[in-house]
Each structure stands twice: as C-alpha cells, then as structure tokens.
C-alpha cells in the first residue's frame, strides 16, 4: 500500500505537530495532530474496506483461440473481467502474461470506471509462444487507488487463473514441406524418374501404365483418369553468404556459427552432389562467385579467404523496387480518396508526385542485375541464403525476389537469437520458402 502525495503531506504535517506537541508539551498541537491522525486512519480503513469489496466482486473468464500449438505460433487470448467499482475509487486491471510468451498486439491492461453496477472489461490480445512447454495464465494484477492511497494486489487464486497452453517444440532444422529423399528433390516437371507427389491428373491414353489410374476419380466421372507424378532431380542448392560490414558491430558468436554452417553445407554438397556453387556478397556488393566447384580443399580455402567481415563500397538503405513504389502510390491514392482534409490532400498529392517521379526514373540496381546474371549462369532450383540480418536487408530482398522470379526456392538461414515475431516478419517481407536458425 502506498500513500499518495496528499496523504504523504498530511502525514508529514501530523508528525511535525506530534513532535511539536511532545517537545513543547502543547495540548492544542496534540489535538490538531490527533484529528489529522484520526482522519488518515479513517481513510485508511475505508480504503481497505472498499478495496476488498472490489476484489470480492472480481470474476474472470479467459479463452484461447487454440490450446495446443507449436513454438512460434500466435494465439488470440480474450479475457473478460467483471468488477464492481465503488464511487471515488479508480481500478486498473492488468493481465499477468506467462513469462515464455511475447505479446504481439492488443490490450493487456484496462481501467474501470466507478459505476454503481458491475461492469465487464474485455482484454483482447495476441501472444506468440517463444518457448515450448506448458504455459499457465497465472491471474491478474488489480491496482486500486483513491484520493489518498493506492495499492496493487496480484489475484493468483485458482478462480482467476488458467487455462493452460501447451506449446510443442519445433525443430531448428525442420525439413521443408516438399518431400525430399536423400540426394533428390521433387520437381513439378516430367522426368524419367518419378517422385511420390502427384503433379497433375489427365485422361487415360492407350499405353499408359494401368497402375497410375486413379480409380476414385474415374468412377466419379465414368472415364479413366491417370495420375502424373512429380519428377525427381538431383541438384545442389546455390549457397549465398551475406557477410557483415566491417564498419559496423556484428554478433561475432553468430558469425562463427554461420561460417561453420556454411562450411558444413559446402562439404555436404560436394560429397553428395559432387559439386557446389557459392556466391559471397556483403550488402549490395558481390565479392566472389565460385561456380560448380568440385574440389573440397579448394572450396574450403576460398571460404577461409572470404569468410570475414568485408568492406562495402555500396550501401543500400531501404532500397525500393518498382513494385514497392507502385504499392506506395496505390496506398497514397487510397488515402486520398478517404481523406476530407484539404491540407492532408495537398500533402498526399505532393508525396504521390514525388513517388511518381522516382518511379519514372527508377532503374534496376546494378547489384540486382549482377545477381540475375549469376543466377542465370548457374543451374540451381534452390538457394540457401546465410545472413546475420544486421542492418539494412534490402539486398537480401533483391536476391530473394530475383530467385523467386527465376522459380528458384529460397531458404534463409539466420541467427537463432532473432525473435520469432521478427523472424516471421522477415519471412513475410522476403517471401522466403523457409526461414530457419543456424544453431
């Protein structure tokens, strides 16, 4: 329980009067101090009586959108708190969030108005499970205050707690959704070798393998249909390494892990596919391209030469593509349609003009053109991009975009210390097929 400033001042006055009364043996001062003490004690008793009536009136109902999720999943939580607040009291309710979740957005704290009847407060927010295990919502914190005192109480009894949330672990190196067997990868093309996935269904032609007939579909349409299975090919992924800038701080431990993982992947590729291609960049600067290298020792020596923070002659800072500029212009046009304010309209008009001029003069970045040339010169259907994600990531976006344009799957490897919500944001921004941490 804390005294507010008014109560603190009155308490100090009472202490001074008591001291004066004792030292000077003055009955009037004692009486004045006594009345002040009676008033404060009375208010104290009243405050506690009202506080406990508020606590007794609290009722909590909490629901989760899902109770069993994987680590990194986002869950919607809705808590309804019913409380009766007496007049001249202020009440604040704050949800007690489990330690191993991160709040994404929403409201976790509300204030209640002093009303004669009970009122319902609704706390609605989204959380992301950061750790696996069983999380338990442990109740609420109630803050009560009036003119003289304030107090906070943690409501942890069973009736304020629960439900529990089970979070299953996710593997740091989960396999991608497409079925992949050792040394092969399924592709959406015809091939001599068949994979396990079904690429298409077509009508039966004479000579087709009878084992490929889809009997269920054939019975439904009264015509024979056959399955076309995916092809299988064996290509090593193109490894792209984004080195940190020498002129800025970077996490050294994470960089060492990244180097070890790149070396491991290079060795695996050479042993499995007999060759590997590695593109070394640092921001929007291509440093080295090792194409179709078969010699492991040469690979490792090249990596040893290049794998350290590099100097960047060119820097990107939120470099925008033509599509980014077009989407900005579209957003401005939408805002112009809904804004009635003349000054805002004028501002939006000049902003649109600026973006329009920039779009007209926008050319492909030299780095992007170099990436396109590198990707077209190599045969790859997958790219594994290693980066520390420190600083601007426009160059990573450029690489991912060009790879997706060339129908190459993009797998991004990033430090494990990056928060899952940020990881999800990066994945959405880059459009990567998978986003994993390097251990």
């Amino acid at each position: 329980m804390r005294l507010k400033r008014c109560a603190q001042g009155l308490s100090l006055l009472a202490v001074l009067l008591f001291s004066g009364a004792f030292i000077l043996d003055n009955m009037a001062a004692l009486f004045a101090a006594g009345t002040l003490l009676c008033a404060l004690c009375g208010q104290y008793l009243l405050f506690y009586r009202r506080q406990w009536s508020i606590v007794r009136s609290v009722d909590v109902g909490r629901s989760l959108s899902r109770s069993l999720v994987r680590r990194g999943a986002t869950i919607q939580v809705t808590t309804t708190v019913t409380v009766t607040v007496p007049p001249r009291m202020q009440v604040g309710v704050t949800e007690r969030i489990p330690a191993s979740v991160a709040v994404q957005d929403g409201v976790t704290s509300l204030a209640a108005d002093p009303l004669p009847s009970s009122q319902n407060l609704r706390l609605s927010y989204r959380i992301t499970a950061v750790m696996h295990g069983t999380m338990y919502f442990s109740g609420l914190t109630l803050r009560v205050s009036d003119l003289f005192f304030e107090d906070s109480i943690d409501l942890l009894a069973d009736r304020f707690c629960g439900p529990s949330l089970s979070v299953q672990p996710t593997g740091m190196f989960e396999p991608s959704s497409k079925r992949v067997s050792i040394e092969t990868r399924e592709i959406e093309k015809m091939s001599v070798l068949s994979g396990l996935g079904i690429r298409a269904l077509r009508e039966y032609y004479a000579g087709d393998d009878l084992r490929r007939i889809d009997w269920k579909l054939s019975a439904k349409h009264d015509k024979l249909f056959v399955r076309e299975y995916t092809g299988v090919m064996s290509l090593p992924p193109l490894i792209i390494v984004d080195l940190p800038w020498r002129g800025a701080p970077y996490p050294a431990a994470e960089f060492d892990r990244m180097v070890a993982m790149v070396a491991g992947m290079v060795e695996y590729s050479i042993r499995t596919y007999q060759y590997v291609s590695v593109l070394v960049v640092s921001g929007p600067n291509i440093l080295n391209l090792m194409a179709d290298e078969k010699d492991l020792e040469r690979c490792i020596s090249v990596l040893r030469e290049w794998m350290h923070p590099a100097e960047r002659t060119v820097h990107f800072y939120r470099a925008a593509d033509r599509s980014d500029l077009r989407s900005q212009i579209h957003a401005i046009e939408t805002a112009q349609e809904t804004t009635p304010d003349a000054e805002t309209l004028r501002f939006l008009g000049s902003l649109r003009g600026y973006y329009g001029t920039t779009l007209q003069n926008q050319k492909m970045y030299a780095f992007t053109a170099q990436v396109v040339r590198a990707l077209s010169s190599l045969t790859a259907d997958e790219v594994v991009l290693f980066s520390l994600f420190s600083g601007d990531i426009s160059h990573i976006r450029q690489i991912a975009r060009q790879a997706k344009t060339a129908k190459i799957r993009v797998h991004v490897r990033m430090p494990g210390t990056i928060e899952p919500p940020l990881r999800a944001f990066y994945q959405a921004r880059l459009g990567a097929d998978t986003m994993e941490a390097f251990a």
Partner: protein
Amino acid sequence: MVIGALGAAVTAHSTAGYLCLLLLIPVGGLLFAVPGWHGRIFYLACSGELLILACGALTIWAGLFTAWMLAGVVLLELGMLEGKEDFGVFMLFCCVTLVLAAVIQVSDHVLVPLILLAAGAGLVLFFQDIRNYQLRKKYTGAVP
C-alpha cells in the same frame, strides 16, 4: 468554522483570539478565491490545522468545533459527504475526536494522551493488517 473562530476570539479575552480571526483569511481565500486549483485541498487542510491549533490553544472545545467544521468543508469539497454511509463516517470521526478532546481536557501533560493515541492507532493498524493479510492469502492463492 467562522462562528467557532469568532466565538473563540470573543470568549478568549486576549489578543491571541485575533490570531484565530486572522487564520480564517487563508482558509477563506483557498476555499473561495481559487476554486479550481488542483492542490487546494491539501493547503486547505494545512491552513485549517493551523486554525484548529489556534482555536484549541484558547479552549479545546473551540478547537474541536473548528475541527468538525474543517472536516465537513474538506469532505464536501472532495465530494465525500453525499450518501448515508459518508455521513456515518463523518459522525464516527466527530465521536472519536470528541473522545480525544475529552481525554486531552482532563490531562495535564501531553505524554498520557499521546501514548493513548499512539496505542489506539497502533491497535487499529495492527488488526487491520492481520485482516488484510488473511484476505491477501485467500485471493493470492496461498494455502490457508
């Protein structure tokens, strides 16, 4: 409050009575001249306490009457004198201060009333704390 101060000044038969009238000025000024001031309740209480002190120095019953009037003014200003419960609390305050004034009136020195006051406040706070602890145990989920 004005009546109490006037009465004390008139019955005092000394120049100290004029102090009571003089101390009415800051109280009246805070009450009427600056109605919208945020911190005026605290200063009203402080200046009122000085008035209680001055009136109480003349006669304890004048001080008691002034204390009641000051409490009523402060509670009215805070909006804490509206319902039956609020009046009940105010009457309880008046009774307690009446007892306090009676004890002070019959005592010669400060020590005994001071000890009684401290003991009374201590007992009240002690029992309140125990009750508070029991309720906290119940609602914070501890095993009773």
